[in-house]
């Protein structure tokens, strides 16, 4: 019997989906709302939802106290740079693993993934020392390299999965049609892999943008990205909730907007292969 989807059931599903969606989004919404309150209203009990004196004061103070644009620029360079570098390294790697696998390919893939299981703090000390002796501490290039290395296993894995979906016969057809290896990659493989590469790039930018452990530990003033910008408003006394919220909103806004406009691409990319 075919599963009957009644209107009632559809409505119920929609309500539940919206409920879960709002629940997940609520902390972000609360942060955004709080950023428009005064410090006093921010810690008011009972909490104020929509009916308070909306103010832009926090944003003005935050902008006055710290140079938002400098942090933003660092974030853009570090997230963008590490992603670009990662893709350049990962594309050939994933290609060779997907199309000319050796006996050890699976082992290498698993080994790469296993590096993600190591707690980052476990390698903080050696990396910190390396950064000191190489003069990379608090530099954008240092952070770019570290974030690229951290995310490289994920990039390779994602690209590998996408490439695996491309039938080998199409590449063989290109070879039979007289294409050289370069032409085969340029005219056949790359255009077919573009959706996969695009969603890998997007996901990686988001991961690098939000990365806080390394960016906080390896920067001071010069290379600090937006994560450090937020952290500078978090004080043990906790009297600056509104300003912290304003800083957070400013920090997540760019990536939220990017995510919003690319959500179709992201969903398509992440479910690629699962849905045919």
């Amino acid at each position: 019997m075919a599963r009957a989807v009644t209107t009632q059931r559809k409505t119920l599903n929609t309500v539940i989906a919206w409920g879960i969606g709002l629940l997940i989004f609520f902390p972000i919404l609360w942060t955004i709302l709080t950023s428009f309150k005064t410090e006093g209203q921010a810690i008011a009990d009972p909490p104020l939802f929509l009916f308070f004196d909306w103010t832009l004061e926090n944003y003005a103070v935050v902008q006055e106290r710290s140079d938002y644009m400098r942090f933003l620029w660092n974030s853009v360079i570090i997230a963008g740079g590490s992603t670009l570098l990662g893709i350049i390294i990962a594309v050939p790697a994933a290609w060779s693993m997907a199309f000319v696998p050796s006996k050890r390919t699976k082992d290498i893939l698993l080994w790469m993934l296993s590096t993600k299981m190591l707690p980052a703090v476990g390698v903080l000390y050696p990396i910190y020392l390396l950064f000191i002796s190489l003069g990379l501490l608090d530099t954008r290039i240092g952070l770019t390299i570290v974030l690229m290395l951290i995310n490289l296993p994920i990039i390779v894995w994602m690209l590998y999965t996408y490439f695996k979906e491309i039938p080998g016969e199409i590449l063989e057809a290109a070879r039979m049609d007289g294409a050289s290896l370069k032409e085969e990659i340029l005219y056949v493989l790359t255009p077919m892999a573009i959706p996969g590469i695009a969603s890998t790039v997007l996901l990686n930018i988001i991961l690098a943008w939000n990365e806080a452990f390394w960016t906080l530990n390896l920067t001071a003033a010069n290379a600090a990205p937006l994560t450090a910008f937020i952290a500078s408003y978090s004080s043990p006394e906790g009297l600056f909730f509104a300003k912290l919220s304003a800083a957070s909103t400013m920090a997540i806004a760019p990536i939220l907007i990017l995510g919003w406009f690319s959500q179709k691409q992201l969903v398509r990319g992440l479910t690629f292969g699962a849905v045919k």
């Binding site: 039938p167 016969e169 199409i170 063989e172 057809a173 290109a174 070879r175 039979m176 049609d177 007289g178 294409a179 050289s180 032409e183 005219y187 056949v188 255009p191 077919m192």
Partner: protein
């Protein structure tokens, strides 16, 4: 020109030898079909000729030139794949143009050949569509178009019709045969379907476990199969084999008789049995006969209007001049 010669060609994957050393010559302009059960090495053999697999040992000559280590792109062969292997991101026109673009043909010549191929393959109205918007038969035609335009030394077909439905398959079979008559280019065609092999080939190569069992024209294979494997593989329904006393009467270990070479009658035949399943095709009826004391089942082909019901007793008379005799090792006794 498209003469292809295999000399002591051998292929192993790791320690497994899939094709023991093998010799074969394909003459220019011939339509050769490699046929055999799945896993017999026919596709591997085709891929060796294409250059998509490296030979483990031996030499492949194309028009007398050693092509063993030439990459597939430079062998001048065109291939049509089972999955069609069209470029999904390109229009039909660009798919067909691709090999010419790789060969850096000038644009006017490209267009001329595309129009010509499209007209011949009924694709003119679909040139601007993507492969995803075409039916299976149309995709297959695009794949063939892509192969034609580069004017190759030889065409290689790897089970090109197995993804099509039965009616379409018969139509495409004719189209490919007509194409061969028109172009007179060497074609090597791989299939597991003996009907395709019989209907299309000038020369059939029957393979089993990487070994060539027999090479010959369709009728040679039908009339004088070299061994029991070829006898059983070529012809539909399959040849009946009888061992024991009945075979000894003919001085053989086993005798083979095709279903169409047994006459049926309600009484008075050489053999008798009970009718099991009757398959009515209209023009013919296939009777599966049990309890003959000869073999578990004998298949008989009778004219469509012959009526026997399940459980009826039926009498069979094999035509004496159509009995094939085989020795204990399965080889034909002539």
């Amino acid at each position: 020109m498209g003469q292809i010669t295999l000399q002591q060609v051998q292929k192993s994957f790791g320690d497994t030898e899939v094709i023991p050393p093998l010799d074969l010559t394909i003459e220019d302009g011939e339509f050769v079909v490699f046929v055999g059960p799945s896993g017999c090495g026919k596709s591997t053999l085709l891929r060796l000729i294409a250059g998509l697999e490296d030979v483990t040992a031996g030499t492949i000559l194309i028009d007398g030139k050693d092509a063993t280590n030439i990459p597939p792109a430079k062998r001048g062969l065109a291939m049509v794949f089972q999955s069609y292997a069209l470029y999904p991101h390109m229009s039909v026109r660009k798919n067909i143009a691709f090999p010419m673009r790789m060969a850096k043909l000038d644009k006017a010549e490209q267009d001329r050949r595309i129009e010509q191929a499209a007209a011949a393959l009924n694709l003119t109205d679909y040139l601007d569509r993507r492969p995803g918007q075409l039916s299976g038969g149309q995709r297959q035609r695009v794949a063939i178009g892509r192969a034609i335009v580069r004017e190759p030394e030889a065409f290689l077909f790897d089970e090109p019709l197995s993804n099509l439905d039965a009616a379409l398959r018969v139509g495409m079979r004719l189209e490919i045969s007509e194409l061969h008559n028109r172009l007179a280019t060497t074609m090597i065609y791989v299939t597991h379907d003996q009907v395709e092999a019989m209907t299309m080939a000038d020369k059939i190569v029957v393979l089993q476990s990487g070994i060539i069992e027999q090479v010959g024209s369709p009728l040679e294979l039908y009339k004088t199969p070299r061994n029991r494997f070829v006898a059983g593989f070529i012809g539909s329904p399959k040849m009946n084999f009888v061992e024991g006393d009945e075979a000894v009467k003919h001085d053989a270990h086993a005798i083979g008789i095709r279903p169409e070479h047994i006459d049926v009658s309600p009484k008075g035949g050489t053999w008798s049995g009970t009718v099991g399943v009757a398959e009515h095709l209209g023009s013919d009826t296939f009777f599966h006969i049990h309890e003959t004391g000869l073999a578990e089942t004998l298949t008989v082909r009778a004219p469509g209007d012959v009526q026997f019901k399940h459980g009826d007793t039926i009498h069979l008379t094999p035509r004496a001049d159509q009995i094939h005799r085989f020795d204990a090792s399965g080889l034909r006794i002539s």
